[in-house]
Amino acid sequence: MKKYATMLPDIAGSLFKRPATEAYPFVRSQAPMRLRGLLKWTPGPCTGCGLCAMDCPADALRVTMLDRKAKKFFLTYNVDRCLFCGQCVVSCRLGALAMSSQEWELAALTREAFTIRFGKELDDQSGLAGGPQGEPHTDRS
């Protein structure tokens, strides 16, 4: 059996429907809770063990030890390398890493903006001093 105009109900209906296209930059829809966006670091539990950096498939995370005894270290997070796979979050058994479901519009005009440092008690003379306690210091400005 052959029919003609099988998609007539669709196109007739669409005349009275709003287009399905999302007007993205003008209208933003809510991102799902589990969306894997920008990586967030909580300073408390982190011991600088480096498991996250070891498992990162894209080499986006790097742990730099400043003073092993005093537990001074910082993490360099390269957003432009990040695959947003979430392996670091799983690899971190201490729960120091999480991915934001809100921050996902990460385009920037300079390469510097893609390097984020997560630091703990950084020395001032190292020139890497971060923001206030716990806030990741970013070079985004």
Binding site: K3, T6, M7, I11, R34, G86, S91
Partner: protein
């Protein structure tokens, strides 16, 4: 001006860049008037050297490399790799994890088949069907995004299990989404099997007999549309398929219409399996502990991807990196059939025949090639070199 023209015979290059192919594969079709008399294929335009690269990464890093073998069936590749590594390590993923793996795999199948139907309709010149299928594909992509956190590379797998659970709210949203999709699939099945103008482009076109499919080694829905009864989910059930069986869908006709019909009817099976999984999801852990070093050995894993069966061979030498990884994707098996089937058809049917197997060139090609403008020579770059090149390029720009 005229001496360059042979009067009736042309070689039509389709690809590496051509509007009919959204991916780079090069085909050359010799046409006599409108009829194809010869066909030739050349691959490698998207060859990324994944098999080699995998030998230089640890087992965990590879999981995400493997997921990028293909953009559409990312989950099934990661799953195949996980199962192979688990087999080597002699670790069994918990039943709940296996069920969630199958759940994502089936959602991915829905996504893949919708995408394919849109592309095939576009090749045929039925833009409306293309637009509507891709609109509806958003539904399943949203479901996947809500479930896994990403639209394409779900990264649902871990070595030894999965990353996330399915809660009641998510199960409900999946059920609602499936209901809508099921209605749509029913409608599309009606369209592709009854629409008179569409049938003119699919019925009796690109016919592959069962014997041909067997000899050419066709796999997946392409083979099943030629009445080859082969579906690894049924014949060699893996992950949670032993508990949530699917039934096989075949079609004896072997033409393009049959390929549409098989893929769409397969979706009803997917809907059913997903609902079953949601209804009786086994309780328990989400992941088993995995050693960082994998014992020596070889593992062979075969899974039914949306496009046909994928073959994974993983060899471990006992270290924290694989010794060898071999991936055989379904497209390479089916390409032989395109080259053979296209001969004798109208040029206008070629994009349809090509699309009919649901080709995926990125699956197929897994090195980065840089053509030097100055002397026309070619150079291959490793990842490190390419990365270094990128850094230097932008540094140069900034100054």
């Amino acid at each position: 001006m005229t001496e360059n023209r042979t009067p009736r015979r042309f070689t039509i290059p389709i690809g590496p860049q051509h509007p009919a192919l959204k991916e780079p594969g090069a085909f050359q079709f010799t046409v006599d008037g409108e009829v194809v008399t010869n066909a030739y294929v050349r691959l490698g335009y998207a060859h990324r050297g994944i098999e080699k690269a995998a030998e230089e990464r640890n087992w965990i890093q590879n999981l995400y490399l493997i997921e990028r073998v293909c953009g559409i069936c990312s989950h099934i590749h990661a799953l195949a790799y996980c199962l192979a590594v688990e087999q080597l390590a002699n670790v069994q993923a918990p039943p709940r994890a296996q069920a969630i793996r199958v759940l994502v795999a089936e959602l991915e199948r829905i996504h893949s088949h919708f995408l394919w139907m849109g592309v095939a309709a576009h090749e045929a010149g039925f833009e409306t069907l293309f637009m509507y299928t891709w609109r509806d594909r958003e539904t399943v992509m949203d479901l996947l995004e809500g479930l896994t956190g990403n639209r394409v590379n779900y990264s649902a797998n871990l070595l030894g299990g999965v990353k996330f659970d399915v809660d009641a709210a998510q199960a409900d949203s999946i059920r609602t989404g499936l209901e809508f999709l099921e209605g749509r699939v029913r409608h599309y099945l009606d369209v592709v099997s009854h629409d008179a103008t569409f049938l003119q482009r699919t019925r009796g076109i690109g016919v592959m007999t069962t014997a041909q499919a067997d000899v050419m080694g066709a796999v997946g829905p392409t083979a099943r549309a030629s009445n080859v009864v082969r579906d690894l989910r049924v014949h060699a059930p893996y992950a949670a398929y032993p508990d949530f069986p699917v039934s096989i869908v075949t079609d004896p006709r072997g033409d393009l219409e049959a390929r549409f019909s098989v893929r769409l009817r397969e979706l009803f099976e997917s809907f059913r399996v997903i609902r079953e999984i949601l209804d009786r999801l086994p309780a328990g852990e989400l992941a088993a502990r995995m050693p960082r070093r994998i014992p020596e050995g070889e593992a062979v894993i075969r899974l039914e991807a949306p496009r046909g069966d994928v073959f994974y061979f993983v060899k471990s030498a006992g270290g924290d990196q694989p010794e060898r990884l071999k991936i055989r994707t379904p497209t390479i098996c089916n390409l032989t059939s395109v080259v053979r089937l296209a001969v004798g058809h109208q040029l206008a049917d070629v994009p349809m025949i090509l699309a009919g197997i649901d080709p995926c060139f990125s699956c197929n090609d897994r090195m980065v090639q840089v053509r030097k403008q100055s002397d026309g020579s070619q150079e291959l770059m490793t990842w490190e070199q390419l990365r270094q090149h990128g850094i230097e390029f932008y540094r140069g720009k900034a100054q």
